[in-house]
């Protein structure tokens, strides 16, 4: 499989704090890759660096072989990188459909109806709530909306930042079912999660981040059975 995203030796600082210390990983086309780790391990920082919200002082980030380090965040969407930010950041005052339309901001208007159709097929719940104001959706529905909105830009790589955060266990199951479905439909996904169990169960490959460094990597199955991961994240 072709390599879609390659992150090589990035170092990110928040002022004097060295948050990411030489992280390297890659995502191949059609894969689900997950970055897991505890609070403050640098998962979101890594994702923000890939999506251009933060910048690395060293190393390189390439997408489809093109260097994208230093490209501003809004331009990356046009390249086919969609970022679903942490905490279900949707446009609360717009309707569900308007939120989705915003997702197609970088696309020609003519494509919007077809994209809407596709997203509604993947998220039937959103179709039911088409005209509803997004702020009145439940947490799980808001997460679906954020994911649906990202899919409107027809991304080659979908980056999800903690989609399970703050959701009830049954909704977490639902969200991960959707992630599986998206994967089966051919979307490449980079998933950042604290919920290691769930993340590893869907992932093809996984990386474990600890205080800004990758300490372990392997297939999802390998890691879910690894003693270190079990002790640290899965409760023995």
């Amino acid at each position: 499989m072709a390599e879609l995203l390659n992150v090589n030796d990035i170092n990110v600082y928040y002022g004097a704090i060295h948050a990411i210390k030489g992280v390297s990983f890659h995502v191949d086309e059609g894969e689900i890759v997950t970055l897991i780790g505890a609070n403050g391990a640098g998962k979101s920082t890594t994702l923000h660096t890939v999506s251009g919200l933060l910048h690395s002082k060293t190393g390189s980030i390439s997408f489809e072989g093109k260097n994208i380090a230093g490209v501003p965040a809004h331009k990356l969407v046009e390249h086919g990188l969609a970022h679903v930010p942490e905490g279900r950041r949707i446009f609360l005052q717009m309707t569900v459909e308007e939120n989705l339309e915003m997702g197609a901001f970088t696309q020609p208007n003519a494509n919007t109806p077809a994209s809407l159709e596709r997203v509604y097929e993947q998220f039937p719940r959103l179709k039911e709530r088409q005209r509803q104001i997004a702020g009145t959706l439940s947490g799980g529905e808001q997460q679906m909306l954020a994911m649906g909105r990202a899919l409107m830009s027809k991304p080659k790589l979908l980056m999800l930042d903690e989609p399970s955060m703050g959701l009830a266990p049954i909704l977490v199951e639902q969200i991960f079912d959707i992630i599986r479905q998206l994967h089966q439909a051919g979307t490449t996904i980079l998933l950042v999660e604290q919920n290691a169990q769930m993340a590893l169960s869907v992932a093809d490959r996984a990386y474990v981040l600890e205080t800004g460094k990758i300490t372990l990597s392997g297939t999802g199955d390998e890691l879910i059975h690894s003693d270190e991961v079990r002790k640290a994240y899965l409760g023995g």
């Binding site: 999506s51 919200l53 501003p72 965040a73 809004h74 331009k75 990356l76 969407v77 046009e78 969609a82 970022h83 679903v84 930010p85 950041r89 949707i90 446009f91 609360l92 005052q93 717009m94 308007e98 339309e101 915003m102 997702g103 901001f105 970088t106 005209r131 104001i133 954020a146 909105r149 990202a150 409107m152 830009s153």
Partner: protein, 353 residues
């Protein structure tokens, strides 16, 4: 009208209402019902309506508090005066000169809006408000330093920042005329502003703003206001869209300023101070953030009120304050809201704007 979108119908009602007011006021003036003092208020009211509309674009639609809006009005006023006075011989037609003055006023205010926007739009919230306040004051002080005159050789401009130079340093010829005398402001301006020009400007401003709001650009601007990170994640360029809103807002304030400046034969830059910025902000907040119709109504009522109370001397600002508080209390009370809701038609599930 039934098959129009709700917001289109709402905006149509606003336009029709404005047209009715225009006709009624014109008829009243023709009949001589409006006194001199009331007629004198018409142009300033139009100017402040445009100011409120344009500030609503920054505060209501873009969602950033700007406290220096009067500065742009000042730029528009003085460039407008310079244009009108210096074209006096070349363009005898008053309407043409007024249009030229407003256009140039808008362009200059827009340019300043762009220059100020470069540093200011990197900030957010309170910081942005403080810096716009400072720029508003800086603009006012800069205008106070200007000495401008015109003669057959063209414009003579001195930037009198040390305050040592006088009108005679402009070296005007015999037929020359001084337009701006530093701190004394513009004197001897030919007042050419008319109520009709004011109404046309309101129509134009409202038309432009409403078109922007419902355009792709407007959606992007409001998306940034609602959620910056989400907006960036769908590929909206934050700085560019904020700049569009800010420059448009400044340019419209410039046009309003030009009209305002050409309504008086004497005008000092001190008029465009912090108090004027706050006055306009009060119109916007009371009319409702993002609600253009509300801005118009609030600007008219709150501008007329202190004038109508002029006979009460010392108490008028007291009453003004009490009315402001009463309006805020009334519009926030659930009882009053449900009462007013009966008069709203064609609106379900939240306000469109």
């Amino acid at each position: 009208m039934k098959n129009l979108k709700p917001h289109t119908r709402r905006n149509l009602i606003t336009f029709i209402g404005l047209a009715v007011v225009w006709i009624v006021v014109t008829v009243l003036r023709g009949q001589g019902v409006l006194g001199r003092s009331a007629s004198g208020l018409l142009v300033p009211i139009c100017c402040y309506v445009v100011m409120a509309l344009s500030l609503n674009l920054t505060v209501g639609i873009m969602g950033e508090l700007s406290l220096g809006h009067a500065g742009f009005m000042g730029i528009g006023a003085f460039t407008g005066i310079i244009v009108s006075q210096s074209l006096m011989r070349a363009v005898p037609s008053v309407p043409l000169r007024l249009i030229a003055a407003m256009l140039v006023g808008a362009v200059f205010a827009g340019i300043f809006g762009f220059l100020i926007g470069i540093p200011v739009l990197r900030l957010r919230g309170d910081y942005l408000a403080i810096v716009t306040l400072a720029f508003g004051e800086i603009i006012k002080e800069l205008i106070t330093c200007l000495l401008v005159g015109v003669d057959e050789h063209g414009l003579h401009i001195i930037f009198n920042y040390k305050g040592l130079k006088g009108v005679e340093d402009l070296h005007l010829s015999e037929t020359g005329q001084v337009i701006i005398k530093g701190a004394q402001g513009a004197t001897g301006t030919q007042p050419i502003a008319t109520f009709n020009a004011g109404m046309i400007l309101i129509f134009l401003t409202l038309f432009i703003i409403l078109n922007v709001i419902y355009s792709r650009t407007g959606r992007a601007i409001m998306a940034i206001r609602d959620n910056r990170i989400a907006a960036e994640s769908v590929g909206i360029e934050i700085t560019r869209h904020k700049m569009i809103a800010f420059v448009m807002s400044a340019a419209m304030a410039g046009a309003a300023g030009a009209l305002y400046g050409l309504n008086y034969s004497n005008l000092v830059a001190a008029k465009f101070d912090f108090n004027t910025s706050i006055l306009v902000l009060v119109f916007v907040v009371l009319g409702g953030l993002g609600n253009m119709r509300g801005s118009i109504i609030a600007a008219v009522l709150l501008y007329v009120l202190p004038e109508a109370l002029r006979s009460m001397h010392d108490y008028r600002m007291l009453i003004y304050a009490v009315v402001l508080i009463a309006v805020m209390l009334a519009t926030n009370s659930p009882i009053a809201q449900s009462f007013f809701a009966r008069f709203r038609f064609g609106r379900k599930g939240g306000d469109e704007e």
